[in-house]
Each structure stands twice: as C-alpha cells, then as structure tokens.
Amino acid sequence: MTDRKSLEVLIIGYGRGNLTFIDRLITGLLEKGVRLTVATPRKSDLHRILSLKPKWLWTPRLHSHLWADVIITLLLLGANPRLRKPIWFWKLPNRAEGWRSKFKAFYRYLPFTHKNWDVIYFPWNSAAIDHIGLFDSGMPVVVSCRGSQVNIRPHQRGMGVFTAGLTVSLEKADAVHCVSQDILEEALHYGMTRTRAVVIHPAVDPDFFIPADLKMPGQEVRLVTTGSLIWRKGYEYMLMALSDLRCMGIDAKLHIIGEGNERNRILYTAQDLDLADKVILHGILSPEHVRQQLQQADIFVFTSLSEGLPNAVLEAMSCGLPVVTTDCGGVREAVTDGVEGIIVPTREPRLTAEALQKLAQDPELRRKMGSAGRKRVLKEFRLEDHVDAFITLFASTAAEKLERKGG
C-alpha cells in the first residue's frame, strides 16, 4: 500500500468560483501531509491557499484563441524539447479527427505528461469532462458529484454532449465521490456503478462555527439564510413564506447573505409582497461575518429547489440554529424532521410558513433543535473526519489501481 505521507494528488478544476468548501478540503489535505498539485491556468487563482504552499501546475486555459495556443505550445516545446512522452499521451491526438482537434488534444494534455501522480482528483464533473483524455492515462482518477451538474444540467436543453461526457467520465472513473446518498442514486443513471461510489458528506469546522454565548431574545424573529442569489435557491418561495408568516401575525426579519444574478428578482418580489423593510440583503460576507450573522439569528431558513448536500445548512446547525429547510437533495441525510429542524416539501411556501410559525412561537423548541443540530454536526460532519475520508479514498483508489496493474 502506498504510504500515506507520500501520496501525490493532482487537483484539476480548482478556482471555479469562490468556494470555501474546496479551500477547506485542500487546506485539510495539505495539513495532513498529502502532497498536492493544483492545476490552474494562472497562479493567482491560488491566492486563497497560497500560504500553504501547494504545488502549482500550469494548464492551458480552455476556450482560448487557437493561434495563441499554437504559439504557447511552440514556446513550451522550445523550453523543453524532449519528446519522450508517455504512450497514452500520443494516443489521444491520434484518436482525434481533424488537425484542429488533434492539436487541441495535444495542447490540453501536454502539461500532464511530465510526471505520474498517485491520484488525479476532479472536484467537479465539468472539470472531468473537459479532461476526459486523462481517464486513459493509467493514473487513478477520482471524480466528485456535487449537485447541480448531476441533478440539473442533464435535464436542460442542448446538454446532449454534456450528458454523454458525464456518462463516459463516470463509467471510466476509478472512484466516484458523491456528497450525498441522494446524489449517488441520481448518478447511477449516468453509467456509475454502486461499487465504485463513495458517499462522503461535506463537513464544517465546528471550532469555527460556534453557537453564540448568549442569545438576547429580540422582539421580532430574526431569520437568516445563506446562498447565492440564483433561481436554484428558490428565494421567491422564501419571500412568499415570509408574507404568509406576516399574515399569521408574526413579525420576522429575513437576512440574506449571498450575491447573484437574481438580486433584482428578490428586490422586486420583496417590494411586490410589501416586505421591502423586512428583507435585508447583505451581499457576500467574510466567514467571520457569516458566523456573526448566524449567531445573531433565531432560525435558519432554506428553500432551495435542488442541492447536493447544502453546506449552508451544516454551518447553521454548527452554530446551533434550528433549521427550516425544503426537502431537496441530501438534506434528509443531515436533518431529521422534527429533531434538528423541520423539513417541508419544495415549492410549498404555506408549509414553510407554518414551520416557521411553530418555531417562532416556541423558544424552547428552537433551543432544543439548535443544540441537537450542533450535536449532530459534532458527531457526523466534522472537517477532520471529512479530510481523513478523502485521504482514505485517495489511498485505496491508488492501491487498487496498482494491484490491478500488477495483476
């Protein structure tokens, strides 16, 4: 078996968006002594984790200009003119049709030829689909299924190519990591087999997201939610629930943390439902401020339409908040209805409002559910366990591949 300390992992697809959970995972892995290489087009993409000194591998930018690519290739070959590349690499351009795609295959996989990694890890399905050639390289490959790319994208128009790529990548991957059981079931439709799938739930740092010391009971109920302002998060239904809640005679303020292209929609809906002074948009906040907002709130509310397993809910539970969430994706794997919070069906603002009412009127229930949530996070969603699970996954995948090769 490969020694844990010397495990060499290549991560491709980092830097798509500003996502703390990938950072947390990378930080954890680096701290445990895994030798990470992160492949991005620009070194500045790594600025958030640069202090931990991961290795950086230059990769070409996808969708750049063809002639720029040709010049860069010539420069690269000029700098290192040895053409002794592995066989799998030469096969890729041979298989491609037309000189353009031959060149593209050559160019795209050139940076990955100078070394053999123990494991290649794709944190996103889309990254795996972009680098489908690496699945034939003989290096073990691990792919993550995180949510929308398995849940939503295949059902949209003109996604035939994407779905085909998804199927190929999930068929060929040596191990598939799913963020929840729900995602696993979904991924089974796309050529994945159960034996290669591993569920590793996302995790939070319970020492960072801590409950407030003392909660001042305010006059009005303070609701909080975190998530990008995009259609998938179903904010319209949240605002409708808030409107229903006011009809039930409960005064509540909603704090929304996040940014996105549907800001206008939320502003309009709040205005339209006469809630303009009840909804506060905070934009993107630093983790410290997110924690502060969570600590000040009474209830965490979440009305997403589709999720893998929402980190937002875990963070709120870690801060000791009772959660009211829709039954989306793997939520049921983190929250048991009636214990850590209340689960309602999607697109049912009325039921969300009733759940909120129940919690708003009962501080004792809020406290009970909050502490149950904190307990559950401490037991099941610790960051350390999460990182260990990943290291085990990487190590076992690498070992299995080695065995198969030997045999």
Binding site: R232, R265, Y268, T269, Q271, S306, T346
Partner: protein, 416 residues
C-alpha cells in the same frame, strides 16, 4: 414647423419589441420627421420584419451609436465622429461641447463620443423608449436644447433601481412629458416620486388586427380527456418575471385532478434552465413543451389552435401577447400583475387571478376546459375588446397627438 423626433432604444429591431417598430413606422407614414437611434443594431432581425426591410427610406432613419466594444475602436472612431458632427450640425456640436465643459469638464469627451449619433441629428424631441434608458442621460436635454419625453413600459418602473432611492429623480425633473402604457404604471410612477402634475398620457399598446385573423371555427365541446386534451399556450420570453414556474405548478395540479393538458410555451430567455429543471422536477416532461422563439406567423398559427391562453406573469407593463391572444379569440387566464387587469376584462374576455397562485390558475383553466360555450363566448368578447380598444391606427394617432400637444404647450408657455 414640426420638430424632429428622435427615438432612443437599446437594441433594434427585436422580436419582443415589435411595438417600437410599429410605432416608428406608423409615425413615419404619418409624415413625422422621425429618427431612431439604437446602441445595438441587429441586422439578422431586421430582415425578419418585412415592413422594415421593404420600406423605402427607412434605412437612413435608423442610426447606430458609435461602438464602444471592442475598446480599441473608440480612439480610431473618435475623429470620424467629431468630423461628422461638425459637418452636419456645427452649431449644435459647439454648444454641446461648450455647455458640457462647464458641467462635466473632461468627461464631456467620453459623453460626446457616446452621444455623437444624437448630436448630428439635431433633435427637437428626444424620446427614450424605456425609462431606465433615460437615467443618467437627462443632461442631453440642456446640451441639445431639445425636449425630453420618456416611455415607461413596465420593467423600468417595476424593478429597475428599487434599491436606490431617488433613482428616477432626475428624469422626473427634466422630462417634459411621459408616456405610460396604463394606469397601473402611472400609479407606480407616482409612488416612485413622479410629481402628479407631470404631463402624461396613457397609451396602451396596440396590434395590427389585419395580421390576427381567427380562421377556424372553434367547437364548444368539453375538453380535458386524454384523447382531447386542453391545449394551453403561453407566449413570452422565458424570464423569471413571467412567472412560468407557477404556471407549471398549476399544470401539475390540473394533471393531478385528472384533466389532460398539453401546455406549450413560445419564447426563449435566461430563465430557460430553471424552467427545464422545474418541468423535470414536477414530472411534466410529457405534457409541457418549450418551443423556443418562433416567427410571428407561427405564433399566430399556434394561437389559432390553442383553447386557452395562460399568462402567469409576476411583473408586467401591459403585455402585447395577451392582446394578441384576445385578438385571435382565445380566452385568457392571467395574473393581476401590472397592467393586466386593464388589459383583460375579468370574467368577460378571460379570468384575472392573483399573482403567484397556481391553485387559482388551475381552477380557472379547469373551468374553461369543462365549459366549451364559455370559451367561445370569452373568445368572441376578446376579439371585440381588441377591436374597440387596442387598434394600431388609434395608437399611432394617440402618439402623434402626444408629440403635437407637447409642442403646443411649449408654444403657449413661450407666448406667456
């Protein structure tokens, strides 16, 4: 002498903004000295409008602003822009630069480049086709010594700049007159700070009735069985403000109640991903079809075949699609967003239900499915309503009067 009228819009021509094309051509045919300036000109769509492509002399009257993308074009084109302005409108250019200098200093050079297409036209009346276009450009009135009018068509008042108090203050101060599509928009404008003494006219949108001729006789039979499903149609861009998510929920309810439905949506837009997902999540892949955007004659054909028109909008100005459906004799189920209650006569030409209420939509659709005579009656009433209220030539006349009144009142003020 009549003043030169310049319409300002962002994209021209656009299928979803046919009303601007109609207004432009209608006023041109009535002999107004009218120009149109757009920031993006779409050549491909131009040929989809036979009226535009075949109209003599219309090409010179549609002008494009000088481009700002790619950026390196700007310094290259600056000199031609300046020369053209000096050649065609030397006095206006000098006044613009001189007065602009006192107001903006060096920034006037940037503004001059953006406005040069307007300056060389020497406009008498500047008309912004959307309220949001006028924001930040009201200074043009002073620099060009022209009059300023603004159309408010829905989204500009409904949700643009809601988080910025006083977003339209400059517009209210500078505009000589405003045009609103309906009473609802006027009230919204007042709520957003428009002085009530502002000179304004309510001119609803209109359609060319000769294009919309219902052909086939509709039967009064009851629909909703598997062999005879209720055919529901929606026409509108796939945007969140059209509220299709709630329509899909209503369809789900109808299907659950045992009514067979075939729902078609014509249009395309940024909210498409969400709607495809919603259709999948609600398990409606069989009964709901997204047709994408279609040319007008195909839309008319689909309207001819539909049994009911559903318009689940959350925010609306007045809505041309609903007028078109009524013209084709299709009973309408729509929400009470914006000007829709003024558009549809509730209980006569269709039903108006609360916004974001799929249950109410489903109830009215089921009612229409079961009652063929009601569908026929509402369809006929819709046609009559359009004939009396939303005719194109009435609208063009109203616009003409809008601009003439503007001149007259100005004259009166001056004489005083």
């Amino acid at each position: 002498m009549r003043k030169r009228l310049v319409l300002i819009t962002a994209h021209f021509p656009q299928l979803s903004e046919t009303f601007i094309v109609n207004k432009f051509l209608g006023l041109l045919d009535r002999g107004l000295d009218i120009y149109l300036v757009c920031s993006h000109f779409d050549k491909a769509t131009w040929h989809k409008f036979p009226d535009l492509a075949n109209h003599p002399g219309v090409k010179q009257r549609v002008r494009r602003c000088f481009p700002t993308q790619p950026k390196w074009l700007v310094p290259l084109l600056f000199l031609p822009a300046l020369l053209r302005c000096l050649l065609w409108a030397p006095r206006h250019t000098l006044i613009y630069l001189k007065e602009g200098w006192t107001q903006f200093k060096w920034d006037i050079i940037r503004r001059f480049y953006l406005d040069s297409a307007l300056i060389q036209l020497k406009p008498g009346i500047l008309h912004f086709e959307f309220g949001s276009l006028a924001v930040g450009r009201t200074y043009l009135k002073e620099l060009l010594h022209s009059q300023l009018t603004v159309s408010f068509r829905g989204y500009d008042l409904n949700f643009v700049g809601l988080d910025q108090p006083g977003y339209y203050d400059q517009v209210w101060k500078q505009a000589d007159a405003c045009h609103f599509l309906g009473r609802d928009l006027w009230q919204r404008a007042v709520r957003r700070g428009c002085p009530t003494e502002m000179q304004h006219r309510l001119i609803p949108p209109a359609i060319d009735l000769s294009l919309f001729q219902p052909e086939a006789e509709r039967g009064p039979n009851s629909l909703g069985s598997p062999e005879n499903p209720l055919r529901i149609l929606s026409v509108g861009r796939l945007e969140w403000k059209k509220g299709y998510e709630f329509a899909l929920q209503a369809i789900r309810m109808l299907v659950d109640q045992g009514t067979s439905v075939s729902y078609q949506v014509i249009g395309d837009g940024g909210h498409r991903d969400a709607l495809y997902f919603t259709r999948h999540q609600l398990g409606l892949t069989e009964s709901v079809e997204f047709l994408g955007s279609l040319p007008q004659h195909e839309v008319i054909q689909h309207l001819g075949e539909a049994n009911a028109f559903l318009h689940p909008s959350l925010s609306e100005g007045f809505c041309n699609a609903v007028i078109e459906a009524q013209a084709m004799g299709v009973p309408v189920v729509c929400t009470d967003a914006g000007g829709l209650p003024e558009n549809v006569a509730n209980g006569v030409t269709g039903f108006v239900v609360p916004r974001r209420d799929p249950a109410a939509m489903a109830e009215k659709l089921a009612l229409l499915a079961g009652d063929g005579a009601l569908r026929l009656r509402m369809g006929k009433a819709g046609r009559v309503r359009v004939e009396t209220h939303f005719q194109l030539d009435q609208q063009i006349k109203a616009f003409e009067a809008f601009y003439i009144n503007l001149n007259n009142e100005r004259m009166l003020e001056k004489n005083k």
